[in-house]
Subunit: 286 residues, 2 copies
């Protein structure tokens, strides 16, 4: 997905969100916002995904605020909030006529936990309850289910903390179907993306083999990924599930077939996929 002109003003809005998470003075925040604005002036409209300038912007913030993980607290907060919903969600899934479909839907709905986009805390329970009643805007389930029958495993490229609780339930369903599940989290802190610690905190390691992608870039830039990650990414007997917008932005034109699970959270993505804002997406790129 290519950067659009809309992404450029969005950078400083996202910066403000990140800066609100950090305990610093408003004058320090203003100083950092100004550095982000100066950087924004230089961003070209080229073939790069929006994740690329977003990555640079978050590096500016981490460096100038002297805070290696501005979203540390909010990640823990939403892991806890999602864990509180786990039992109910798991019950709904296990009582559904199609467990796999329902688990996938909750994994998409869980992508609402995204502090690259949301700029304030929200009531997760209420949000999940509303979103779950919404039909999918794009639904490639039939193709997924057919291919899954032949696959030995699934690589899940995770997105956010909190959200991984919903991914964990999907991983359990896949494991119960006899599939090997490999769960890839980020190698270092970036936005509110899940790390190894988050995966362990929510017990994802009970359902899946957890690996990291070996880097801390926004989205998934294969040239930055570890050999271990690439081994699973390239396994022909594995399906790939990619969660969230940044992974979509950086992987949607990849020659490898990937199933993208995400909520459409900005106008640029909405135009790319021709869906409504807020739409729930289960889209295969080939």
């Amino acid at each position: 997905m290519k950067i659009a002109i809309d992404c450029i003003p969005c950078l400083s809005r996202q910066a403000l969100t990140a800066l609100r998470m950090i305990d610093i003075s408003d004058s320090k925040r203003l100083e950092i916002i100004r550095e982000v604005l100066k950087y924004s002036v230089t961003v070209p409209l080229d073939d790069s995904p929006p994740a690329v300038p977003s990555d640079t912007m978050h590096r500016i913030i981490r460096k100038l605020s002297d805070n290696a993980d501005p979203f540390f607290n909010i990640k823990n907060e939403y892991n806890r909030a999602a864990l509180k919903l786990e039992k109910n969600v798991s019950n709904i899934i296990h009582n559904a006529s199609d467990m796999l479909y329902t688990a996938i839907k909750f994994a998409i709905v869980g992508n609402v936990i995204d502090f690259g986009v949301h700029h304030k805390r929200f009531d997760l329970n209420a949000k999940i309850d509303t979103l779950y009643r919404q039909p999918l805007a794009i639904d490639d389930y039939i193709s997924f289910k057919t291919e899954l029958e032949k696959a030995t495993g699934v690589l899940i490229i995770h997105d956010n903390a909190g959200e991984i609780v919903f991914d964990k339930i999907l991983a359990e369903v896949l494991k119960d179907m006899g599939k090997t599940v490999v769960s890839a989290v980020k190698g270092g802190p970036v936005i509110n993306d899940a790390l190894l610690a988050d995966a362990r905190n929510v017990g994802l390691d009970k359902a899946a083999k957890i690996i990291t992608n070996g880097n801390d870039y926004v989205g998934t830039l294969l040239e930055k990924c570890s050999t271990e990650f690439l081994q699973y990414f390239n396994r022909p007997d594995f399906l790939i599930i990619s969660k969230g917008q940044a992974n979509f932005e950086t992987l949607n034109r990849n020659p490898r077939k990937i199933y993208f699970l995400l909520q459409a959270k900005c106008d640029v993505l909405v135009r790319e996929l021709n869906v409504e804002l807020g739409g729930l997406i289960f889209w295969a790129n080939h």
Copy 2:
């Protein structure tokens, strides 16, 4: 109302909205966005209302795009859309148990037509229908009604084109109560604010004496206003109704008692008035 750090990233977002209204290339849009970003770096966090940098930003756009009135088409479009609703709205008001209150409420609801905030077209009919069912978040009607009994006239400081159709119905109700209504529009194009032409287009001149404030600044900066405007503003036998956020920002701390009718459309205003986003406001500053 003082500028907040949130207002600084918001400038380039508002710029993008304005630039979408103009028929220019994306590369020209990018060039102008970059100038706005460069200007944003210099905006101080001081006592000025957000309307002040917003005004400078819109001047940058008008100059660099060589377009004196980027919102010209959308103003006409929403005048027409609001005129289509006029008969229905007027019927609801004339059948209401309290006509004045209902007319005021529709004048607040009409403030939803604001392309400083909204970045795309929306279905006015559906929006008005939803908003009208919403109770006011702040309601100073009792004080207004008491003071209106003693007043000879009302000065309405208008905000947006389209919205003035709802203001016109309020003006008619006030006129039917025996009050002189003076309607002040902007002296020159700025955002989608109503001008003399808009007031005449929607027939506001049948219910009120129309004047301009003699300038094209965002909001109401009294030092820029015409003598005619100030004469009405300072009349002790007149009540003042101010529409919309920019007029609120620039007038809320004025020693003159003013009744502000607006929808709360951004987090900075939400914090200032301690209401929910989207809240309908009927607030007196004294």
